[in-house]
């Protein structure tokens, strides 16, 4: 028979105002197993906790019920107090008679509150009688991190972790790290050159002895759990043997063919053996197998690159290879992309060459871009005399499926207007906007500078239509401040299109077992208090894969996530809450419903062997490192062979029966 103590808290008047706590304590004495009750003014205070500890010790209690506030408030407090008094912390349960009773039933006669409190206490006592001792789960930690995405957030995180002395594997899908930031010309609000500030970091990451770079690679699968992940990485065939390449660039120089350069939004050309941009890191070229005649036509053709390559590192038959790495933490920084112009038929997106995205404009303005930094429009290479910028293109637009604000467009459009003015002095920019959102440091001043010093004309309204007239683009929209419909001709139209998750973001999330929102942005564990963690332990987030953010925030998040990883790595082993599922191997039928249902792939198959070591059958086994204790498997199991510690069937049954 258990020896249960029930402690009823008055919480000043918070509970006692509507609940007769003395009566609750008194009547709780009659509950089976209860040997001691206490009615106390403030249980969570130090004297209160002290009281609990003393009574546990003096009465030899083995289980405790605290009838007080929500377990979300003080479950930890009282479990710790119980532990200090020598109990297993999981022998302490909370009966929530404040948030769920005294505060919501303001009956001064205390009849209702007292009755309900008694019920709640009784249910909790019945539950706690079935509580078993639970021990924290300990798992070892592999002190090596995987960073997915080599944009600025990923680079920052990788450098921070590496600087602290831990190994980092940095996986980048593209041939070079740098991400979207490498495409930008200047950055707001300081107007420093994006590549000038980013390239040193790229080089540092590439040369850091603790960082292992996998470019042109993708994460194929992630298995395991916090501290113990096994990652499979696909290294796509570059057709160039990396170990031999000296990055001399001879092959690129001699390659006779070109194709549109994706890095320049296909506005410029590149060779078929190429590095995407001059500052690429690593500067190892890859062969574009979609276009190279070696692959698309007769195998005999060309091969110039192989001929000119000194170290003989061209390998036309190279295949994708796989590497497996063991890591203790995964940091996801996969970034964003922007909605393409083809989503805007009303603006002639895809039809008119001179309707481009903001990111395309960055390439036009970038010194390393297709025009060498001169603003020349894509259709005919002329310098546009008038540029119309359309903000909120796709953002805040439910008809395009994006209700959110893309956060960075107000600022970068102001920057674009400035860059344009700096490069085309006689040019005029018009900016259609809905609201100007510049909450960052020095952002408002930057925006006003665009208006007051750089001559940008801001029109408050949306553009409804862009079409062709007399060979020019005609922009039709509204200026709601003057209450007019406005129409103007433009030589170039720049859409500040919505920031959207990467294609494939959802796929990756499924492989990682992390959740995402309706758009495909990854969910934080808590949007305010745990902004760079996911609900899956050991997986962290940084940058625009969480939502649209600017460079300073991306970098901050990269560092923040790195600090989380470092905190994890500061432990030799981890202990975690023991609320996990467990399987009774004797009765498991191996139907694998639990395996199918488990959102975390925590169910493994374990062989049952006879003494000779022959496999008799397989049964389910819970990987305690992976299991997070949701209980989906328990409900799926027909024979109730699987149960959830801390929320066992017996505990819930007892609570129901105590109604």
């Amino acid at each position: 028979m258990s020896k249960i103590g029930v402690f009823v808290c008055q919480c000043g008047n918070n509970i006692a105002g509507t609940v007769d706590t003395a009566k609750v304590a008194d009547e709780a004495k009659n509950l089976p197993g209860v040997v001691h009750t206490e009615n106390c003014r403030f249980l969570c205070s130090s004297p209160g906790q002290q009281l609990v500890k003393e009574i546990i010790k003096t009465n030899g209690l083995d289980k405790v019920v605290i009838a007080a506030c929500s377990p979300h408030m003080h479950e930890k407090t009282f479990r710790k107090a119980s532990e200090e008094a020598g109990l297993n912390p999981f022998q302490c349960e909370i009966a929530n008679i404040r948030e769920h009773c005294s505060w919501v039933h303001e009956d001064k006669t205390k009849v209702i509150g007292t009755e309900k409190s008694l019920d709640i206490t009784r249910m909790t006592v019945e539950r706690v009688r079935r509580n078993g001792p639970l021990d924290k789960i300990r798992v070892p930690v592999t002190k090596k991190a995987l960073v997915i995405g080599g944009g600025v957030a990923g680079i920052q995180a990788a450098l921070d972790i590496a600087e602290a002395g831990h190994e980092v594997i940095l996986v980048e899908k593209e041939p070079s790290i740098g991400g979207q930031m490498a495409k930008l010309s200047e950055t707001f609000p300081t107007m420093d050159c994006s590549q000038c500030i980013l390239t040193p970091k790229m080089v540092e990451a590439a040369h850091h002895p603790k960082i292992r770079l996998y470019t042109y690679s993708e994460v194929e699968s992630v298995e395991g759990y916090i501290g113990n992940f096994t990652v499979k990485i696909r290294k796509k065939a570059k057709s160039v043997i990396e170990e031999l390449c000296t990055e001399c660039g001879e092959c690129t120089a001699k390659c006779p063919f070109t194709a549109p350069n994706e890095f320049d939004s296909e506005m410029g050309k590149r060779k078929l053996i190429y590095i995407p941009f001059p500052q690429a890191v690593p500067a190892i070229p890859i062969i574009d197998r979609d276009h190279c005649p070696k692959y698309v036509k007769d195998k005999k053709k060309c091969g110039v690159c192989a001929k000119v390559c000194g170290p003989n590192c061209i390998d036309f038959d190279q295949e994708d290879t796989f590497v497996t790495e063991k890591v203790g933490a995964v940091l996801v920084a996969t970034g964003y992309e922007v909605m393409g112009v083809e989503r805007f038929p009303e603006f002639g997106g895809g039809r008119y060459k001179d309707v481009i995205t903001g990111l395309d404009f960055e390439r036009l303005a970038s010194a390393s871009g297709p025009t060498g930094g001169d603003i020349k429009r894509p259709s005919d290479g002329k310098v546009p005399n008038r540029v119309v910028f359309i903000e909120c293109s796709g953002s805040r637009d439910e008809s395009k499926g994006v209700a959110y604000c893309s956060n960075i467009c107000c600022m970068y459009t102001a920057k674009h207007a400035m860059l344009y003015k700096h490069k085309v002095h006689e040019g005029q920019s018009f900016i259609f906007y809905m609201d100007i959102r510049c909450g960052g440091k020095r952002y408002e001043e930057f925006h006003r500078r665009a208006v007051e010093h750089e001559g940008a004309v801001y029109l408050r309204g949306r553009v409804s239509r862009v079409y062709e007239r007399n060979g020019r683009l005609l922009v039709q929209g509204a200026d709601t401040l003057s209450g007019s419909q406005v129409e103007l001709e433009a030589d170039l139209v720049v859409l500040a299109t919505a920031v959207v998750p990467r294609i494939g973001a959802k796929d990756l999330a499924k492989r990682l077992g992390i959740s995402y929102d309706g758009y495909g942005f990854y969910n934080e564990y808590h949007p305010k208090l745990r902004p760079v963690e996911t609900a899956t332990a050991g997986i962290y987030l940084a940058g625009a894969c969480i939502g649209p953010v600017d460079i300073p925030t991306s970098v901050a998040q990269g560092s923040a996530a790195a600090s989380k990883v470092l905190a994890l790595f500061s432990n030799e082993e981890l202990s975690r809450e023991p609320v996990v599922a467990e399987v009774n191997t004797a009765t498991c039928n191996a139907c694998w419903d639990c395996e199918t249902a488990c959102p975390y792939h925590a169910i493994q198959r374990e062989a049952v062997k006879d003494r000779a070591g022959n496999v008799l059958r397989y049964v389910a086994k819970v990987n305690e490192g992976v299991c997070v204790g949701c209980g989906v498997c328990v409900a799926a199991c027909h024979s109730k062979t699987i149960d959830l510690r801390g929320y066992t069937d017996a505990q819930i049954y007892a609570a129901i029966c105590a109604l």
């Binding site: 929500s70 377990p71 979300h72 929530n96 404040r98 948030e99 769920h100 009773c101 005294s102 505060w103 919501v104 039933h105 303001e106 509150g113 009755e115 309900k116 019920d119 249910m123 077992g513 992390i514 959740s515 929102d517 309706g518 609900a535 899956t536 609320v579 009765t587 039928n589 191996a590 139907c591 694998w592 419903d593 639990c594 199918t596 249902a597 959102p599 975390y600 059958r617 997070v628 204790g629 949701c630 209980g631 989906v632 328990v634 409900a635 799926a636 027909h638 024979s639 109730k640 959830l644 929320y647 069937d649 017996a650 819930i652 049954y653 007892a654 609570a655 129901i656 029966c657 109604l659």
Partner: protein
């Protein structure tokens, strides 16, 4: 004191529990009739909880968790939704007023929604009155009740076999081929036992036979009396048959549907059995009623609307393909009865089922004969906690029948064996069929057709319907 509704709420720790906390913090007042049971996730909520709550005198149950997409455990609430769709289909069908079981998404910030929901639920349930009828079974079937066991009543007229004067049906034309195949398999040692149909040694009726010697293959027959679903002998719980070695099984198209589910759930390996598929144009439901010919009204319910006359998935098929006969066109009597029940009020449905479940004697024949009830230890055999009351009073009758149905939901291939063997003549076909309809309507899933698919209860789709969730 006047009667007050008693409502149990199963709420997830992260959203609704926190939402209810917030209601407290903001002092949002609501009715005191609800008692919360905290679970980590709505995915943890087993239909057993709800059944038990009613058994314990609850008048209503609320189940509430995070909105889709907000689940703390990625998809626990979506798994829960799947389960609810089935369970709601079942509870509606047996006539539990839908208002008594309410499902909701309440986030941690929706204190008002929570308060409003509790108030509304309390008032609607107050309007419905106490849920006493859950306990109103008399237990006419139990010996303890002094009532006549329906089995005994029925057995007076029960014929162990077909009367001598009635001519027996002829063998199907492919029987020689079937025997030849069986002999070949046994002789080559490909299988150790052939599970098939044969005449009982002393009675005029068809029984399962287990042929282990090539010389015995002549015992194998096939005719319209071969109604049994022999796949019940395949799963592990039939240890003595498994001990004989690799089996070959004579299977009709419908039996193969069950085998498909067993494959899905990995109870057998595809390489571990040889399936001898037989073409079938319908079998008689109760062979003792055989009167010389396969009259349409004797056909097994599963034969109506059958689309597997020619077996799929079989290693060897004997017999020519047959088309669906006129008698096999639907809708069947079972479907008609389901539709008739659906049209009735919940109260009338309840009365219908109460009358039937009242007779249940918890003999578990339904479970024993079911090829998919293969658990080594049935939930009824688990006593800590004892979710289903197994003692000789009617307390657990509803629970057992609901649990049996929900455990088979989305899996049952409607072979009808449980209904056929029930000594109390409880129309289990109706429940099984109804849940198959739920599965088809909600998930476009028919059990027994795809051995690669997962049972619908343990997977989910984000677009699963949720029009019943508040």
């Amino acid at each position: 004191m006047s009667w007050e509704p008693k409502i149990v709420a199963f709420v997830c720790n992260w959203c609704t529990y926190a939402g209810a906390d917030l209601a407290g913090v903001t002092r949002t007042q609501y009715r005191p009739n609800v008692r919360l049971i905290r679970v980590p996730c709505t995915g943890r909520v087993d239909p057993l909880f709800i059944i038990k709550a009613f058994e314990q005198g609850a008048d209503g149950v609320l189940i509430s968790g995070c909105h889709p997409g907000d689940c703390h455990y990625i998809s626990g609430n979506l798994h829960a939704k799947r389960r609810w769709i089935f369970f709601k289909g079942l509870t509606d069908f047996v006539g539990i007023e839908p208002e008594r079981i309410q499902y909701a998404w309440v986030s941690a910030s929706e204190a008002n929604k929570w308060a409003k929901m509790v108030d509304q639920a309390t008032e609607t349930i107050r309007g419905l009155g106490p849920f006493t009828k859950y306990h109103a079974l008399k237990g006419t079937g139990t010996a303890a009740n002094g009532g006549a066991c329906p089995l005994l009543v029925w057995s007076e007229a029960w014929q162990p076999g077909i009367p001598d004067e009635v001519p027996l049906p002829e063998d199907a034309p492919f029987v020689p081929a079937l025997r030849e195949k069986a002999r070949e398999l046994l002789e080559k040692g490909e299988v150790k036992v052939v599970i098939g149909y044969g005449w009982a040694k002393r009675q005029r009726r068809i029984v399962p036979v287990f042929i282990t010697e090539p010389g015995d293959v002549s015992r194998l027959v096939f005719n319209p009396l071969c109604v049994n679903n022999l796949s019940v002998y395949l799963p592990r719980k039939q240890g003595d048959i498994a001990k004989l070695g690799k089996p070959a099984i004579v299977a009709k198209g419908c039996d193969i549907k069950t085998i498909t589910v067993l494959l899905q759930e990995e109870q057998i390996g595809r390489d571990g059995i040889v399936i001898l598929g037989v073409s079938c144009s319908g079998v008689i439901y109760r062979q003792e009623l055989w009167a010389g010919k396969a009259a349409p009204d004797l056909l097994a319910p599963k034969c109506i609307g059958c689309d597997v006359q020619t077996p799929r998935l079989a290693d060897h098929v004997v017999g020519e393909p047959v088309a669906r006969s006129v008698e096999q066109q639907g809708p069947s009597e079972v479907q008609r009865q389901i539709e008739a029940l659906d049209r009735k009020s919940p109260g009338e449905r309840w009365d219908f089922w109460a009358e039937h479940f009242d007779r249940c004697i918890k003999c578990y024949a339904c479970s024993q004969v079911c090829p998919l009830c293969y658990c080594d230890r049935c939930i009824t055999e688990k006593n800590n906690p004892q979710w289903v009351e197994t003692s000789a009073h009617p307390q657990g009758n509803f629970s057992w029948n609901l649990v049996r149905a929900i455990h088979l939901a989305g899996r049952c291939t409607y072979c009808g064996e449980c209904d056929r063997v029930c000594p109390a003549n409880i129309p289990l076909n109706l429940i099984n069929r109804k849940l198959a309809v739920v599965s088809e309507e909600a998930f476009d899933y028919r059990s027994g057709y795809d051995e690669k698919a997962h049972p619908p209860m343990v997977v989910y789709h984000p677009d699963d319907k949720e029009n019943f969730i508040r």
